[in-house]
Amino acid sequence: MNRLAMILAITLAVSLPVFAQDKGWGSGNVLFRDVIVHMGTATRPFLGDVWIRSGKVADLGWVRDVPAGTRIVEGRGELHVMPGIIDCHSHIALAGGLNEATGPVTPEVRIRDAIRPDDPSIYRALTGGVTMAHLLHGSANVIGGQDAVIKLRWGANADGLIYEKAPPGVKFALGENPRRSNRNTPGADRQGYPRSRMGVEQIMRRAFQDALNYRDTWQAYKREIAEGSGHIPPRRDLRMEALLDILDGRIMVHCHCYRADEILMVMRVAEDFGFRVATLQHVLEGYKVAEAIARHGAGASTFSDWWGYKFEAYDAIPYNAELMRRKGVVVTINSDSADHIRRLNIEAAKAVKYGGYPRNLALQLVTLNAAKQLRIDRWVGSLEIGKEGDVAVFDGDPLNDRSKCVMTFIEGVQYFDRRKDIRERAKTHRPPAKSEQEATR
């Protein structure tokens, strides 16, 4: 009996730390041992270890010694570890509306003011290995609101989600949405401007010209101050200040677009005013003007096989991502959906199977390239020493549609565990107790 008690005690003592790790979700120190490592670069996957210390990738390859207290995840050569997936275009975790569609130009509104950290979509995205998302304003107006890049730290408040290292961006929109939305906005003027693609371009040009005039007013005031004659500062206009930040390159432009002619148009407008478009979103006809996009220096964030949902989205092909990549464009696949965000690895796989995208580069479509487009690739996007330890763990090759994400870590802290999730689900969906069954008879 005593022996049995001792065995029980030892078993309990051994198993307790395991449970504690599961509940505590780690302190940022974790070693993935004997796992297949996808670095997210052009390097081929290899069998080895990934050590994350204090939230950053400390070592890759064969890690011999780790300090006591480091959590060890045994891969046994079966688990695949890849960088956390970054969704370059998402509308999850927003409260109080995502389209300030009451006017064609509203860059003064900021997504970061309306983040809803308890949106269940954040957790659902974690279940697909997504660790970061680029939250964009809607596409109902030509120059929309400012974006926010978040890390999916489920349970943190809005400020805790925002990734401050990411430079700010703004959403532009071309084509049917700003035209249609302007017309259909309840209460808005039905003859509202713009009604055409030409009008969209002129809205942009006029907005930037107004911003330049606004700058002239301030410069004149500053000159007067220097001369000792000026006393009254011009009125601050937050809308114009945001437009000036765009012109000065302090706010990146992410432009919703589909058609080739519009893509050329927005790049032309940007070049006329001396700034660059950071990314073209959707860009389903990007393959037609890939060289021009590469020359301009814009990235392209597209879909692998989602099109045909409106007229301007008809002339799309599965080879879009590959053709743009061949011309030197940094390409990503995004979700633009709270549902698709859970399967972005499959979206990348589709670009390989149907679009001829190189298999060894496919994961970059949803990791490193997204980080490059958001100008955060110094810190995230791949598993390299010194980068932040955002990791998705799959039970098979991430490009295999049978593989499942089993764990998701952000800076070494675990935010999703499939086994734990299933256990929790069993609690809420538990089968009826025997007495309940009998009572119903």
Binding site: E100, G103, R110, I111, D118, A188, R206, H231, M240, P432
Partner: protein, 484 residues
């Protein structure tokens, strides 16, 4: 002759009505001020406590009304700290049109934020000082009679929610409009993240942008004014906008800002919006905003906690909230019995049970949030007061305070929250608390200790006017679905 008789009768009736309004002296005899002290008499004259003395020691003035308070306990009168009810607007004043429309563009054109005239003008017009005029002759706030029955002697009336709503009015609650006494017609300004479909701002982020713009405008006006006062000549007079001046009062901490919010995330956004200013912020919201208590304490913000009872169906949770139990549904005769041997039926029953469990878990969480909110605020050091909600009833106020005490809130804290007596809240300097000689005679008469659920409010005295409450309160929470 007949007409003369009618006139005399009408005049008599009118005299009777106005007689209720005149301040007759009032003596309350044999009332206990504290549970362990002997009964005392209280003489009230002209709305003030004129004298107190041992039982039977005060002589009755010849015209005084006498109320026998034997067995009753003198308790505090309560403050309903947020009642959305705008006083009637003052007569149209051309000066209210403050924002110039000269820069309004012609169509088609691009609008700068400055040209969103309608939003900006509406917001500023509501902050115009003329808005604080309260015509008590015509203003009869809805629901005041019910509030009196629940022991609420004062209410803080804030305008209906708008981006910038205008002045808050602190007044005594009276069933008769003419007797309503305004204690402060300009206690603070209301702000809210209001959005409207089809008009700027239509989103929360747009509402925040408008507030940021208005604050920038106000700061510019202030800077201009200072430049003019510091320089002897050369600076033209700024185009003074009274609404912006009022916003400056808020940003400078000279007048509190009451910000309506619905979630803790909105509360955090508002705190961030006013960070770096001297604004004295009071957030108005339901119990879930208390989750942001730590940030509120850091920003020295106060809270008006709305007694928004969660909608619960579970009998155990309803009992815990002291809500009336819904009537049990009678089983229909001849209803088909479920065949539990049928696997599909079994699966359906399992699913129903599972859904019920989920609903109960959600309700339990909502009840926990509701009950813990006052304690959470108190522990974080955030000053707070209670208010009713538009859907709720007056007696929710005392019920919430009692529930908070059951959940662990100290009785003095609960009492402060009920009466608005926290020195860190703007009500404190206006309301006179305590049955002291020279103070306004405003209190309740209870038939037992305040925190006992069986205790009823027997009478309320507001500014020396006595109202005996005879009607029994209806069972609480009997509305459909347990809503309040």
């Amino acid at each position: 002759m007949k007409a003369l008789t009618i006139l005399i009768v009408l005049a008599g009736a009118a005299a009777g009505l106005t007689g209720q309004q005149t301040a007759r002296p009032l003596i309350i005899r044999n009332v206990r001020i504290a549970p362990d002290r002997p009964p005392r008499d209280i003489l009230i004259r002209q709305g003030l406590i004129a004298a107190t003395g041992p039982s039977g020691s005060l002589a009755r003035p010849y015209d005084a009304e006498v109320f026998q308070g034997k067995g009753l306990l003198l308790g505090p009168a309560f403050l309903d700290a947020y009642v959305p009810a705008s006083p009637p607007p003052p007569p149209a004043d051309p000066a209210l049109r403050t924002a110039p429309r000269s820069s309004a563009p012609t169509k088609p054109a691009l609008r700068s934020l400055d040209d969103d005239i309608d939003t900006r003008r509406a917001a500023l017009d509501r902050l115009h000082p003329a808005r604080r005029q309260v015509d008590t002759r015509v203003w009869n706030p809805k629901g005041d009679a019910e509030r009196l029955n629940a022991g609420i002697a004062w209410a803080f009336y804030l305008p209906t929610v708008e981006l910038c709503g205008g002045s808050g009015v602190l007044a005594s609650t009276r069933a008769a409009p003419r007797s309503l006494r305004v204690l402060d017609s300009d206690l603070g300004l209301l702000f809210a993240l209001t959005r409207r479909r089809g008009r700027y701002p239509s989103t929360t982020m747009g509402a925040i942008a408008v507030h940021r713009q208005l604050f920038a405008d106000a700061q510019r006006q202030e800077a201009w004014r200072k430049a003019r006062s510091q320089t002897s000549s050369g600076v033209p007079r700024p185009p003074f906008e009274p609404g912006l001046a009022r916003i400056n009062e808020v940003l400078g901490g000279r007048r509190p800002a009451f910000y309506v919010c619905r979630t803790e995330h909105e509360a955090l956004r508002i705190l961030a919006l006013l960070a770096g200013t001297k604004a004295r912020l009071v957030l108005v919201g339901p119990p879930r905003v208390a989750r942001a208590a730590a940030a509120m304490a850091k920003a020295r913000a106060g809270v008006i906690l709305q007694a928004e009872f969660p909608e619960v169906t579970d009998p155990g949770l309803r009992k815990r909230l002291h809500l009336a139990q819904p009537k049990k549904k009678l089983k229909e005769k001849g209803a088909p019995t479920t065949d539990t041997a049928d696997p599909e039926m079994r699966a359906l029953q399992d699913w129903i049970r599972s859904e019920r469990r989920k609903v109960r878990a959600r309700e339990k969480e909502a009840v926990q949030t509701f009950l813990n909110a006052p304690l959470r605020l108190s522990q974080a050091g955030v000053p707070f007061a209670f208010s009713t909600t538009e859907k709720g009833k007056g007696d929710d106020l005392l019920a919430y305070a009692r529930l908070a005490v059951e959940a662990g809130l100290s009785k003095p804290s609960a009492r402060r929250a009920l009466t608005g007596a926290d020195p860190a809240l703007p009500f404190f300097r206006v309301l006179e608390q305590g049955a002291r000689v020279g103070h306004a005679a405003t209190f309740t008469l209870l038939d037992g200790p305040l925190w006992d659920w069986k205790t009823r409010i027997k009478a309320i005295v507001v500014d020396g006017r006595l109202q005996v409450l005879t009607s029994k309160p209806s069972p609480r929470g009997k509305k459909k679905g347990g809503s309040r």
